[in-house]
Symmetry: C2
Subunit: 151 residues, 2 copies
C-alpha cells in the first residue's frame, strides 16, 4: 500500500524514533513522511489558508485523504485500522495530513474522506506526529493479526 503523511515543520526532534517506525512501516508498505514549509504568515487565518492550498495541490483526485483534526471522530485503535481497509478496498493511495500551528482549513476537511481525532487532549505537534506513526504501524499489525496489538 502507498501512504504519504504530510505535515508542516521539520523532521528533527523525533528523528531516531520516526526512523524506527518508518523502517517498520516500509517493510511491507511504501510509506513517505513529507515535511511541508510552514507559510510563515503572522495572520493565522491567512497562514492556514496558504498551507491548506499547498497541501491540496499535492493531493490527487483518487487519493483517500485522512485529516487529523480535533473536530474529527474520536477513534479507537481498531476503528483507526478500519480506515485503512476503506482505502485499501478501493485500491486508493492513502494520504494522511496534519495541520501546522494554525490548524487545517475547512477546505481540507471538506476534501477529506475521513476526519479523525486521537482523543480530547492537545499534543505538541512533534509528539503527535510520532503518535500517528505508532497508530499507523499498529493499524497494519491489527489488520495482519500479528499479535502486536494487545488489549
Amino acid at each position: 500500500m502507498r501512504i504519504k503523511f504530510y505535515f508542516f515543520g521539520k523532521k528533527s526532534e523525533y528523528l531516531t524514533l520516526e526512523k524506527e517506525y518508518l523502517k517498520r512501516l516500509n517493510f511491507k508498505h511504501q510509506f513517505e513522511l513529507i515535511p511541508l514549509s510552514p507559510s510563515g504568515n503572522k495572520d493565522s487565518i491567512i497562514a492556514k489558508k496558504q498551507e491548506s492550498e499547498s497541501l491540496l495541490s499535492r493531493i490527487n483526485t483518487s487519493d483517500y485523504l485522512v485529516a487529523f483534526d480535533e473536530r474529527g471522530a474520536k477513534l479507537d485503535s481498531i476503528e483507526y485500522a478500519a480506515v485503512f481497509d476503506q482505502a485499501q478496498d478501493s485500491s486508493r493511495d492513502l494520504v494522511l495530513v496534519m495541520g501546522g500551528a494554525a490548524g487545517l482549513d475547512g477546505s481540507v476537511l471538506e476534501r477529506a474522506n475521513k476526519v479523525t481525532s486521537f482523543g480530547s487532549m492537545v499534543w505538541t505537534k512533534n509528539l503527535f506526529r510520532l503518535m500517528v506513526l505508532e497508530q499507523t504501524y499498529r493499524a497494519f499489525e491489527i489488520k495482519s493479526g500479528s499479535g502486536f496489538h494487545k488489549i
Copy 2:
C-alpha cells in the same frame, strides 16, 4: 510540588526526549521518573498482583495517587491539569502510576484518588510514558497560564 511517576520497565528508547521533559518539569517542581522491575511471572494475573503490591508498598497514605488505566475517565488537557489542582490544594505529594504489560490490579485502582485514561487508543508503553510527561508538563503550563497550551 513533589511528583513521582512509577512505571514497569526500562528508561531506554525515549531517554533523550524524556530527559528534555524531566528538565522542564524539574525547573519548577521536584519530579522523579522511577522504573520498577517487572515481575517476570508468565501468569499475567500473578504478574499484575506482584507488580501492584510492589507499587502500593511505595505509596504513602497521604500521597495523591493518579493511575493510568483504560477503564479510567477520558480527560482532556484542561481536566488533566485540574487533577493537579486537587493534589496541590490539599498539599499532598502526587504519585503517577502506569502498569506493566499485564496492566494494573484492582487494588491499585481502588487506592487511586483518580483513575484516568488518555482516550480510547492503545499505545506502546514507551510512547505512552512520553505522552504522560508531555501532558504533565502541559498541565503545569495551563495552571501557570504561560501560553504554551493553545487550542
